[in-house]
Every structure is written in C-alpha cells, then in structure tokens.
C-alpha cells in the first residue's frame, strides 16, 4: 500500500501528513498527553487544508495516510479512529474523508479475506470496530457486516470436513469482537447477545475439530500450545463476564474528547460483499497459540500477570502479532514498538508468547524463521528491556517439554537458540545442560541431549569449533562435532593422495588426462572405484574452503558425469553419498551444502539421495537408529523437498509467462508461442510428477524404516513413566512419524491431487499400526482446503 504522489509540493504534502500521523502517540510520555496529541494532529489536518488550498488532492492524501496508519500501525488503531472522528466533526471535507477512510478500510478487509490473509483482515476489521466506537460508523452497519461474515463462515462448513476458510472467518470475527463490542452495545442489546451466542456456537463446533487439526498442525510442546478457538472462547467468556470492557484497550474517547465524538456522523457504509472464495493457501494464521503461563510467574511481574485475564492476554498477543507481521523491514522498530505498547500493562510475557507462536506456526511461519530470531535479539537489546528474563523462563519451559514438540518445531527452536546465542557472545548457563553430555543422557534425557547437540552444532557453524570448546563445560564436548582428523581413516588413503595430486596444485590435470590417469591407478573398468577415489580426493582437496568445491566441480564435472553414467546413477549416488557420510559427523553443514550443490549440478538426483538416507541396506539396527537420530539428515531431506517445491514454482511461473506470451503473440509468433506454451506445460507436468514420486518415496521409505525399527520392540508408552525424565517414545520414531506429517502437510496440494496414492500405499504393503494412525488423519487434512503456502 503506497501513497503515490507527484513531485515537489505533492511529495512534501504527502511526507508531512504521513510522518505526522505515523508519529502520533509515539512519545506520549514526553511533552503532551495522547489526547492533546490527537487534538493537535486532527486540528493540523483540518487547518492544513487551507494551507494547501483545500484541494481534493490534499484530502486524498489524508485519506490514504489514515488508511495506511490505521491498518498497518494497528497498535495505535484507537488513536487513528479518534483522529478520523475529530476531523469528521470539524468540517464537511473531513466528514467525507472519514467516510472514504471507512469504505477504503472495508475494501481492504474484503481483499484480505479473498487473499486468505487473516491478520490483514483482522487489522482492517479492528479499525472499523474502533470507527464504530467513536461514532464514525453506525453500529447497525458493523453488526450487519459481522453477521454476513458469520453467515459466510457457517455456509462454508461441511460435515466431516475441516474447513480452513470457515475457521479463518470465525477467528476473524471472534478476534475483532472485543474491539467492536463497545460500539455494538450502543445499539440493540438483544441482537448483540444473539449474535454472540451464535459466534460462541461456531467456536464450540471448531473445538470439536481440534483432534483432526492436531494431527498435522499442532506444534505441540505438551501443554505449551493451545488451540486458538479455545483461547478465543475463554477470552470472550471473560470479556462478557466483565461487561464487555477490558483494560487492555486504552481509550482516548472517554475524557475531554467524548462530548465532541458523541456527535459523530454514525455513517452507514456500503454493504460489504464477502467474497465467496478465499485463497486459504496463503492462510498462515497460527491455529495454535503458545501459552507459556503453565507455571506460576515469579518476580515483580506477578502482579501484572494476576491482573491480566484471558481477554487481556489475547489482545496483547494479537497486538504483538500485528507488529510482527508489519515490521519485517524494520525489525528493531518493531521490537521497540512491542516493548512500548500504548497499553497500561506489562506485555513482556505476551510478546514472548506471540513471537514463539509465530515462530512455531505450522505448516509455515508468516515471516522467515530468521526474522523471529532477529526480533528476539532486538527485544533483548533494547535499552531497559526486561524481556530477556521472560525469554529465559520461556526457554526453560520449552527445554523441559522438548520431547512433546513436533520435530520441525524442535529443529526451528534449536536453530533459533543457536542464532540468538551467537548474538550474545554465547553467554548461556551451559552448566545446566551438562547432564546432556553424560553417558546416561541417551537413555534418560534423549530429547534434551539431541537439542543440546543440535544447538552446539549450530553454534559451531556460526562460530568455530575451538571457540565453542573453550566456552562450554568439558562434559558437553562429546556433543560437539568432532574434528575431521579424528574420523576413522580410509583403507585407500594412499590412492586418494595420488588422485589429490592429479586434481589440485599447479600440476593438476585437465579432464581427459585425469580420466586416463585414474584408470591407471584403479584399473580400466573399475568405474565405481574410480568414482569413489575421485570423489574422496575432491572432498579432501576442498576441505579448507567451501567455495573450492564449486571450482573443483566446475573443472571436473564432465569426468564425474561420465563416471556416473558408466557406474549407473543409483550406484553412483551410493558411492558419492558413502564418501560424504564419512565426513558427516565432523562437517554436517558442508555435507548438506555439498549434496545441495550436487543436486543443482544434476550430478545427484534428489530422489536417489532421499532413498539413500532412508535406506536400511547393510545397516545394523543401532546404525540405523544413529542415522535417524542425526538431525542433519532430516535437515537435508527437508532442504531437498523444499528445493523440489521451488522447482514446481519456477515451472509454474514459466508456464504462466508462456501463456501470457501466447495470449499477446502476433500471427507470425503464434506457432512459436504455442510451442513454447506446450513445452512449459509439459515442464510443469514433469516436475509435478517428480514431486509426487519424491513425496511417496519418502513416505514409503519412512514406513520401511519404521517397520524395521519397530520389529521386536514393545509398544512404547507415550507419556513419561514414573522416574523417567522425558517422554518415552524413541527419538527415531518421533523423527520418522514427525517427518511423515511434515512432508504431507507441506505438500497437501500434491497429495490431494494424488489422493488415490494414500489408499494404495496403505493397502500395498505392511504398514505399522502407529504409522497408519499417523497417516490416516493426514488424509483429512489433505482433503481440507488448507493447502500448502507455495503451490
């Protein structure tokens, strides 16, 4: 949403208006109160009309700036609605502008609903609710709008099927109602009560669907995440019990301004047409809310916490979420805003919860993961911030419940913590984690051990091994990736050194000569041996610097490809992956990166790599368990599947470009354009087929691993037994089942298009009960319209 304008005066006018409005209330503790600032700003807006000649252009700039601020700076939405009300009462142009602001905002809400962007729609609806509170918009119009939203939500529900759009609409109304209740209560109380009863009924219906949603979208964490409809229900009950008035919504229309506002225009706006479809593929609203208040808070914040009921917590969390969604480009500003909300309560707890909620949202977070890391970092760095204490407590809570988390969320958390620590000189009470490095940790606290190991691996990636060794206690050294030199030597090291001389240094050979010399070392038709030797030498030669791998591959890719063709692709993949697997414990990042690059060079086929990673051939049970407990294996599989999704996206973009070209082609270009279009369509089909294969191969591979490792194992108890410290489900099983869920929920459109594969898969071979139980509910999820965000 940009305010377009001309040059010179227009730009100055736009700059002045927008700057003034954006700043309002930011220094409320400074020279003047918020009320005084609001009066000043609205007065200036009206007065400046004459300065700019009272042109329509000026009021258009004011309208755009008010819509922009009211929707994007939602933590000050009450202030902007008051400004709108004040200018509406000051002049006829002001009144017209107020009407256009309200109409524009309702238009934005409709667009956001169509795009499936719950948070954007909520910001717009909150602004409209506040406009109703200050008598700009009539309560009848607001009630009618809310009713039509509720009708759309009810109409969308079908029996035995989850409906993401219905959930989105109910969430939208329930979240906005606390903001609009004050204005709506001005009107027909009976109508309001019946509307609320109907809404609560919808929320209750959604609570019935909870188990189905949980099957694939619950970040879990034991009791740390709550289903959002449950939170909304509790908040609305709380608000109703307090007479629909909460302290978390500061008002500026009660005091000196109230008499002026009460004579507002109470406009009846255009009827809102709720779009019949929403792109809920973009729906990324968190269905689960992180609630870190399971333990009694300690310290000075306790009194604040006691005062806050479910409604205050909801409003504070939503406001913080709003800021998170809008401050991607200015994360430090966002952090400052979150710590200085114009709300008379300590919001640190809710800020931490909102950020965790967004960071852990499944199937994907609204912003990139690193954004939330940056926000937490800023929140702790802002002068006088006491948020780090809350954050520390939150991490302790999370640490205690690690085994309950979805593996994807678990990995996000370990990655985030490493990133956070890297920004604070790795200051952490590492001693409290010392137990993770003991010999008993694998049995007693397996999840904590893996979390600790992953965090250490990630901090080593961000720093370097020797530094981390010097920081963490000796007991944890066993969890830090070993040095390459400490890995077992290969039996063919002598040949490898000979090959290294051929490929590196000033006397390196050109590809044709290299091949001949390799044959001399290993034998003429020993292609597998040659490939193994060459690859091992390449890996050793590029050990010092990451980008040397690119240079080496560019130089010798022709030889490598020739050898792969002679060895056979599957066998070649095994050879290359075997060599990488040797280095894996010491250089997990390098190995993941190398595989990624080799797939880009089309030396490796991602499908073969996944098959290799999930292969059980030649592995003992212990070795297989070790592999399944290696987090970087899952990191690589996640990366390969996401790259495949990018390929689908690129193919689709290419196809739509080709379609556009075909539509605008001249007669002379027609043949070429249609040929191009056909080619692009074929490309999309090919890549979709490859994705389908990859997904079902992965699910099949996971099933084989699960069946193999389940053999002879008694049913494990899900909950912690007495005396044991963590959940008892084995780590490998948690990883395998968790990744299966992840693959399906991230590719629901592909799964949906090939839903027959589900039944075929379940009928075709032995499927363990637990695996079946995991996969069956995901079918419901795939059939619901909650599709993945990319495709």
């Amino acid at each position: 949403m940009e305010i377009s304008g001309g040059r010179g005066d227009d730009d100055r006018m736009r700059l002045e208006v927008t700057s003034m409005l954006a700043r309002v209330g930011d220094d409320a503790e400074g020279r003047s109160s918020v009320e005084e600032q609001l009066e000043y700003v609205s007065g200036r807006l009206v007065d400046d009309a004459s300065r700019y000649g009272g042109t329509a252009q000026y009021w258009e700039v004011v309208r755009r700036a008010l819509i922009l601020c009211g929707n994007d700076l939602a933590h000050k939405v009450g202030m902007y609605s008051t400004v709108v009300a004040l200018i509406a009462g000051a002049s006829e142009e002001g009144k017209m502008t107020a009407e256009r602001v309200a109409n524009g905002t309702s238009g934005l809400m409709v667009t956001a609903i169509r795009d499936g962007q719950l948070n954007k729609a909520l910001q717009a609806l909150k602004f409209l609710c506040e406009l109703c509170n200050v008598w700009v918009v009539s309560w009848e119009w607001l009630m009618e709008t809310l009713r039509s939203l509720l009708e759309a939500a009810v109409a969308d529900r079908r029996p035995f099927q989850l409906h993401a759009r219905s959930q989105m609409l109910v969430d939208l109304i329930a979240s906005a109602l606390p903001w609009g209740a004050r204005g709506l209560k001005r009107g027909d109380t009976d109508e309001f009560d019946s509307f609320v009863a109907e809404l609560l009924g919808c929320l209750d219906q959604q609570l019935e669907d909870e188990s189905a949603w949980s099957s694939g979208l619950l970040p879990s964490g034991g009791t740390l995440f709550a289903f959002r409809p449950r939170i909304l229900r509790a908040a609305l009950d709380d608000l109703a019990a307090r007479g629909w008035n909460s302290g978390a919504m500061p008002r500026w229309d009660d005091g000196s301004l109230s008499s002026r506002l009460e004579s507002g225009p109470e406009l009846t706006l255009r009827t809102v047409q709720i779009p019949s479809h929403s792109k809920v593929s973009r729906y990324s609203a968190p269905s689960y809310v992180c609630t870190l208040s399971t333990e009694k808070p300690e310290g000075s914040g306790e009194n604040d916490r006691k005062r806050k009921g479910p409604i205050e917590q909801l409003l504070l969390r939503d406001t913080a979420t709003n800021i998170l969604d809008n401050f991607l480009q200015k994360h430090l500003e966002g952090a400052i805003k979150m710590l200085s909300l114009p709300i008379p309560m300590d919001a640190n707890q809710e800020v931490v919860e909102a950020t965790f909620t967004e960071m852990c949202a499944l199937p994907s977070a609204y912003q990139g993961q690193v954004f939330y890391g940056a926000i937490f970092m800023d929140l702790c760095r802002v002068p006088n911030s006491r948020l780090s204490i809350r954050l520390l407590k939150a991490v302790q809570l999370v640490y205690d419940k690690l085994g309950y988390f979805d593996p994807e969320v678990f990995d996000r958390l370990s990655d985030w913590l490493a990133f956070h620590l890297s920004n604070f000189s790795y200051n952490w009470n590492w001693a409290t984690w010392a137990a993770c490095g003991t010999a008993q940790a694998r049995d007693r606290i397996p999840y904590k051990r893996i979390f600790c190991r992953d965090v250490l691996d990630h901090v080593c990636r961000l720093s370097y091994r020797d530094k981390i060794i010097g920081i963490v206690p000796d007991k944890l050294h066993s969890l830090i990736p070993p040095e390459v030199e400490s890995l077992p030597a290969r039996s063919t090291d002598e040949d490898e050194l000979k090959v290294m001389e051929l490929i590196s240094g000033s006397d390196r050979k050109a590809p044709p000569e290299l091949k001949a010399r390799l044959m001399g070392i290993y034998g003429d038709d020993q292609y597998e041996q040659i490939l193994r030797g060459l690859f091992a030498a390449i890996l050793r030669a590029v050990q010092a610097i990451l980008s040397h791998f690119d240079a080496m591959m560019e130089r010798y890719i022709s030889v490598v490809n020739e050898l792969i063709a002679l060895t056979g692709p599957e066998k070649a993949t095994r050879v290359i992956m075997d060599e990488l697997w040797r280095l894996w414990p010491a250089l997990p990042l390098r190995c993941v990166t190398y595989v990624d690059k080799l797939c880009t060079y089309q030396v490796l086929n991602p499908l073969d790599v996944i098959n290799y990673l999930l292969s059980i051939d030649g592995l003992s049970k212990e070795e297989l368990i070790d592999k399944m407990e290696t987090s970087s294996v899952w990191e690589l599989m996640r990366l390969l599947i996401s790259r495949q999704k990018s390929r689908v996206q690129s193919a689709k973009t290419e196809a739509s470009n080709a379609a556009r070209f075909a539509a605008s082609a001249t007669e002379a270009e027609a043949d070429m354009a249609s040929e191009k279009l056909e080619e692009a369509k074929l490309g999309v089909e090919t890549v979709l087929e490859a994705t389908r294969k990859m997904i079902w191969n992965t699910v099949g591979g996971l099933n084989v691993v699960h069946t193999t490792l389940s053999e002879g194992v008694e049913d494990s108890m899900e909950e912690a037994e007495n005396g044991a410290e963590e959940k008892k489900i084995p780590v490998w099983e948690w990883r395998v089942l968790g990744f299966c869920k992840e693959v399906i929920r991230k590719n629901t459109s592909v799964v949906e298009a090939n839903i027959g594969d589900f039944d075929e898969f379940l009928q075709s071979g032995p499927v363990d009960v637990k695996f079946r139980e995991t996969i069956q509910p995901l079918k419901t999820l795939a059939l619901s319209d909650l599709t993945d965000p990319v495709m």
């Binding site: 700076l73 991607l328 954004f371 990636r461 010092a544 990451l546 990624d596």
Partner: protein
C-alpha cells in the same frame, strides 16, 4: 508499513557505493534494481566462508559467497559478496542481517551491482580495505591497530585520511576511490591477542 518510517526517518550514512563502477548513475540504479548480490562489510578477517554461508543461507538459496581478499596476502580482509538466486531472498537478507552479529561483529549488508572478477581484492594501499589503512584505532577482529596508527605510514604513502577513521560499523566504500595500486610497504600491525593469531593460523591450515 516501512514506507511510513522510511519517509520521515531516512537511513543515516551513505549506502554502499562501488566507486569504480563504470557507467552512468542510471545504469547503476538499473543494475541495483535487478541485482541479487549483496556487499557485506565489517567482517572479521577470520570469518570463514562456512560461517557466512550459515548466516546468509537462512534467507534463501545462496548461489555463491565471494570472500574479499587482501590483494597481496590473498587472505580475507573483512568484506565479501553474497549472491542469491532470487532477489526476494537478497532483499530479506538486507532487511534482517543489518544489526545481526556474525563472529561477534555487527555486520552490514547492502545491494551491490554484481560481482566482477577483480572486485574481490581490497583497494587499500596495503592490499586490504581502505578503511583499515585510515583506521588508527584497535580492532582485534581486523588485525589489531589500523595502518593509520603506524607512525608516518600515511605521510610516506601520500595517504589522505578521508572519512572518519575507526568506525567499525560505518558503511563506506570499503574499496576506496580509484587510486594507483601500490605495493605494501609496511607490515600489517599484528598485535592482535594471541588466541586470535592462533585462530588465523588454524584457519589458514584449513583445519575446520
């Protein structure tokens, strides 16, 4: 949203400009608008490619990382170029990475017109970056005291101490204005703490 704050709070300090760019300002603007390459500054001399890869691949698929090297020593000299496949990823990186620490230093990133061979070398007289030639303060991550701290160094080399010296966070044209390449005459001041010197040796040995 950002436009609200961008407009009335323009970012202070100059943005990164490659002063040796051969082309009109319009050409430069066009290249920047389509670029997927970032210039990253204020790195420690000891920051490795792996660390940068870890830090920048969080934003999207990185095509390549090109380390800035001392022209004479061929060792990292505190800057790099990061090239992404997609512009959106590069944009996200710029928004977020500024203010983030890599190897305990606040790094700075900005758009670059695109890497060309030769640009990986420092343009300072000493072979490294100009900022280290004009710096007189101590910076452990960048080889200890800057060249300007060495008595008479600037005068002997006809060096003009442009810009504020000793501002590790400042984003300036680190490769400096066009000047004749000069041979390194003074040795780099290597009074960095012992552990950092060890680390440098360790890294050169490729032992990671």
């Amino acid at each position: 949203m950002a436009s609200l704050y961008e407009e009335f709070k323009p970012s202070r300090g100059g943005k990164y400009v490659d002063r040796r760019f051969r082309g009109s300002p319009e050409e430069r603007a066009a290249k920047l608008a389509a670029s997927t390459t970032l210039y990253v500054g204020n790195l420690a001399f000891y920051t490795s490619e792996d660390q940068l890869w870890t830090a920048f691949s969080r934003f999207g698929e990185v095509k390549r990382v090109i380390m800035g090297l001392d022209r004479n020593l061929k060792t990292p000299c505190g800057f790099c170029f990061v090239e992404y496949y997609r512009r959106e990823d590069a944009q996200n990186a710029i928004w977020i990475i500024n203010g983030v620490k890599v190897d305990d230093r606040l790094i700075r990133a900005d758009w670059d017109v695109g890497f060309e061979p030769g640009r990986q070398y420092g343009r300072g007289r000493s072979g490294g970056q100009v900022r280290d030639d004009v710096r007189s303060t101590y910076d452990a991550g960048r080889g200890g005291y800057g060249k300007a701290a060495v008595e008479g160094y600037g005068a002997r080399n006809g060096m003009q101490l442009w810009g504020p010296a000793g501002e590790p966070d400042a984003m300036r044209d680190d490769e400096g204005p066009g000047r004749k390449r000069g041979r390194e005459e003074e040795p780099m001041v290597t009074d960095a703490p012992e552990d950092i010197q060890k680390r440098r040796i360790f890294r050169r040995g490729g032992n990671r």
